[in-house]
Every structure is written in C-alpha cells, then in structure tokens.
C-alpha cells in the first residue's frame, strides 16, 4: 500500500478547514467580549475598525469598553500606531472606518484629498511629558536629560509620530538638541517609546501624558514632568470618519459617542486637554 496517496488529500482537507472563516468572538486589549452570535453579515456591518494614535492606547480601550456596554451589538476594534503611518496606510486604501490622529493635520490632509466621510473633529490636546523610572524629572526639569546617568533618551520617530516631532521641537527650544542628539533612540510610535522608558531600556522618555497616566506606566513606578506647552507646537488631536464607514451605522454611532460628555470625561482623565475650538 502506498502511503503517499493519502497525504495529499489529507493536506487539502486540513486546508479547507483552515480556509473557513472564523466565527469566534474576539477579545482584544482587555475589553469585554461582545457577543457576536449573529450571522456573518450582521457581524460585518456592526464591526467598526478604528485606526488610533498610539497615545490613545489606554484611553481608547476605556472608551470602547464603555461604548460596548451601551451598544452590545457593535464591536469596535482599535489598531494602534503612529498617526503618520496610519495616514500613509489610509491613503493606500487601508480599510479603517475611523481615524484618530495625534496631529489634526493628517485628517485635514485626507479631507482635502477627498478621502474622508465627515468633517474633522478635534477631541483634545495631547501633552508631552518627561518620564523616568530612575530620576525625578520634576527636580531638574529639561536638564534631567543632561544627568550623567542618562545614556539613552527615548522619543517617538519625528518623521511620522507627532509626539516625536514635538519632542524634537522642545529639545531645540531649550537648546539641548545638539547636546543630547547622540543619546536619542526612536520608538516607532509613542507607545513603543513609552515601553522603552518603562522597561528601562532608556533612562528617560519623552512620552504622552495619556500614557504616563496609564496603569502599566504607573505600576512601573516612574515619575514625570509636564513639558511646558510653549516649548512646542500644540498637539491637537483630531478624528474623522473615513469612506470605508459608508453604510456602517456603528461607525457613526461610535463617532457620536466620542463627542459625548462621557467620552470627554474619559479623555480628560487620561490627560487630554480640551481642544481650543470648543
């Protein structure tokens, strides 16, 4: 008997099982599992894909948790990254329904290119902080960066992460850039930058206040100091509905929720200031 005869059909059978669509409910980033007992078409229409700036990593999880409790039929799935990366991905056709950017310029640019499905809404102002696990940045303020024990300073990549741009501006503002530029390490986005500082890979990180206030960063026992807003351009945060959300009522509902008083309270608790436009 030739054993090779069964191996091909067996592999094909396994593959067919593999090719079937998953029907399991997903659980992401600690938010409660919303039941998706309905058939696949209902699932698809009530799934909202959100591209969220990395400074929202913890705030957005709270927003989604509260929203899901009120709207159990709608599953909001956030993906986190740098705003500049998302901007490129969305221009290249990424299937997101909403885009929350740490720099309102990105959604505004999409708007002028007719790649949005709503006006740009400002949901807050981000704040830059110096964060350190070993030093107290409140004591020496920006000069903390010149401390002898500081070998590496983590900032987000200024090329596509808004907090990285603002960090660079602040370094220039205090005439520190040339003194510390060899110590800079670059996170792909602000959450990775915070992780570099939290893990101790960098002695100091220039990160978002919203991340410094997150449970994970607080548990790490670091201290932070707010970089004065005069040192850099404002970090205006804006969101916009994208054309992919057309016909998806859940996306509109989530956008509405993000402008509600409840959402503003949550964002405020994570250190986002009120936007100037409101």
């Amino acid at each position: 008997m030739n054993n090779a005869r069964w191996s091909l059909p067996a592999i094909c059978a396994v593959a067919l099982i593999g090719a079937s669509r998953p029907t399991t409910a997903s659980n992401f980033a600690g938010t409660p599992v919303t039941s998706s007992a309905g058939n696949l078409t209902t699932c698809a229409s009530t799934e909202v894909l959100v591209a969220a700036a990395a400074d929202l990593r913890f705030a957005m999880d709270s927003l989604v948790a509260v929203f899901s409790r009120e709207n159990p039929g709608i599953t909001v799935k956030p993906t986190y990254g740098s705003s500049g990366n998302f901007f490129e991905q969305i221009k290249n056709g990424a299937p997101f329904d909403l885009f929350f950017s740490a720099d309102v310029d990105y959604p505004r640019q999409l708007k002028t290119q007719n790649k949005t499905a709503s006006d740009v809404h400002i949901y807050g102002t981000g704040q830059l902080v110096l964060w350190s696990k070993t030093l107290d940045p409140a004591r020496d303020k920006m000069n903390t960066l010149l401390d002898k024990s500081v070998a590496k300073i983590a900032i987000a990549n200024p090329a596509h992460a808004p907090y990285g741009k603002r960090a660079e501006e602040s370094l220039h503002h205090y005439n520190l850039y040339n003194k510390v530029k060899d110590k800079l390490i670059f996170g792909e986005n602000i959450a990775q930058t915070a992780q570099y500082a939290q893990s101790g890979a960098a002695e100091v990180g220039m990160i978002a206040l919203s991340l410094a206030l997150s449970p994970a960063m607080r548990q790490a026992g670091g201290k932070y100091w707010l970089v004065p807003s005069i040192a850099h351009q404002p970090l205006l945060q804006g969101f916009v509905l994208l054309p992919h959300s057309n016909g998806n009522a859940g996306a509109g509902k989530f956008a509405e929720f993000c402008e509600s008083a409840v959402a503003k309270n949550i964002l405020g608790a994570f250190g986002f200031g009120e936007g100037p436009d409101r």
């Binding site: 030739n2 054993n3 090779a4 191996s7 091909l8 592999i11 094909c12 396994v14 593959a15 099982i17 593999g18 090719a19 998953p22 399991t24 997903s26 659980n27 992401f28 980033a29 894909l49 990395a54 990593r57 799935k77 956030p78 993906t79 986190y80 990254g81 991905q89 221009k91 290249n92 056709g93 990424a94 299937p95 997101f96 986005n189 959450a191 990775q192 915070a194 992780q195 939290q198 994970a216 960063m217 790490a220």
Partner: protein, 225 residues
C-alpha cells in the same frame, strides 16, 4: 486571558499558503529539475530571492503594487473589486511569494536526488509523464514533499516584516500572532506577549522535530517502488 484569534489567523494564513504553494510548487520544481532551458537559472534565482531579500523590501514593493493608487492595484480594485492591501487575501498573496523558496527548494532537491533510472524505466514501460510523476516520482520523494510543506508552513507562521508593511495589524483580519506579540509588548502586556511567544516557540520546535524525525525515518528505510 489569551486571545486565540491572532494564533488562529496565523494558522489559517499558513495553511492556505502551504496548500497553494504545494499545488504550484510541484509543477514548478518538476520543470526546474528536468527542463534544459538555459534561462531557468534566472527563474531559480527569482524563486530564491525572498530568502535573502529583507522582508521590508518585499513588503514595500507589494505595498506599492497593491495600493489602489498604483496601476496594478487600481485594475484589481476597479475591475475585480479585489483589495490586496491591508486584507487577509493580500497577506496570502504576499506569503505565497515570501514562502515560495521554502517549498520549491526542498522539492527541487527531491527531484534531483531521484535515481534517473526510475524515470527512464517508467518511460520505457510506456507510462505517460503524468503517471510517472504521480505513481513513481512523487511517492519516492515523500520526505522532500513533507519537508517543503512543513518549512513553507512554519516560515509563513513566522512572517513579520511583510505583514507589518502591508497588513496594518487589524484585529481578526491581519493581526497575526507575530504582530500581536509586537503589539502586546507596546501595550506593556508582557504577560500576554509571553504567552503568544511561548506558543510560537513550542510550535516552531515541534515542527522542526517532526521534520528531523521524518528525514531520519526515511533515510533509514529504503525507497518504495
């Protein structure tokens, strides 16, 4: 609690990729093994290219090609309503290219290591190429078939750079296990990252163990005709 969705997604991607590569890989490596055309070395070089190319280079070109702003992507989008960027289908296409050498090279080695008299005897007895391939050649290169399938499968499971470039880490669609680990580390969810990493580590080790066990087993037993 561990979210199984990224692991399931990785598994699905690897299974679909492996089956398609298996079906494409056999005729391709058969042709490479027996063709006398001189330019087949160019084809061999192209097939092996993804082994040495940085995944970001491949990802970058695929991003340009698949983007609805590019001409290829526009044709797909406009006439066939297919979006390959930031979709599971796109990951499958990328994985096919990325894992192709891991399927073709073992198969090619398998064909080349077959004693030529097997093929000649079958032809002399009047069997067609198709029957010879199906009844004589493939059954005698079973270790190569299994090695190719397993390596292509494992390599697709471990894919990261290409997925980062064209996947977009969308939960349930393109957020495969390797990307989920990266993501959980950024969330400072080391515990969860650890779980995913452990599953992949044990999985990769088991896969290699199976490959070596099979090769060991076949090198001891003689060819079946």
């Amino acid at each position: 609690m561990i979210d199984w969705l990224p692991l399931w997604l990785s598994l699905r991607l690897a299974l679909v990729t492996t089956v398609i590569l298996f079906v494409l890989g056999i005729p391709l490596s058969y042709w490479l093994a027996y063709s006398r055309r001189r330019w087949k070395v160019v084809a061999e070089a192209c097939i092996s290219l993804p082994m040495v190319l940085p995944p970001t280079v491949l990802g970058f070109y695929l991003l340009l090609a698949f983007s609805p702003d590019g001409s290829f992507g526009r044709v797909l989008d406009h006439y066939f309503d297919i979006r390959l960027v930031f979709t599971f289908q796109g990951l499958v296409v990328a994985s096919l290219i990325y894992s192709l050498p891991f399927m073709v090279n073992p198969l090619l080695a398998g064909f080349k290591n077959l004693p030529p008299h097997l093929l000649e005897a079958s032809r002399t007895l009047g069997k067609s190429d198709w029957t010879t391939l199906r009844r004589i050649l493939l059954p005698n290169m079973r270790p190569s078939l299994i090695t190719g399938a397993i390596l292509a499968f494992a390599h697709t499971i471990g894919e990261f750079g290409v997925v980062m470039m064209i996947g977009g880490a969308i939960p349930g669609r393109t957020r495969v296990a390797s990307v989920a680990i990266y993501d959980e580390v950024q969330s400072m969810n080391y515990h969860l990252a650890n779980r995913y990493a452990a599953v992949l580590l044990i999985f990769s080790f088991s896969i290699l163990l199976v490959v070596y066990l099979i090769n060991h087993h076949f090198s001891q037993s003689k060819a079946v005709v």
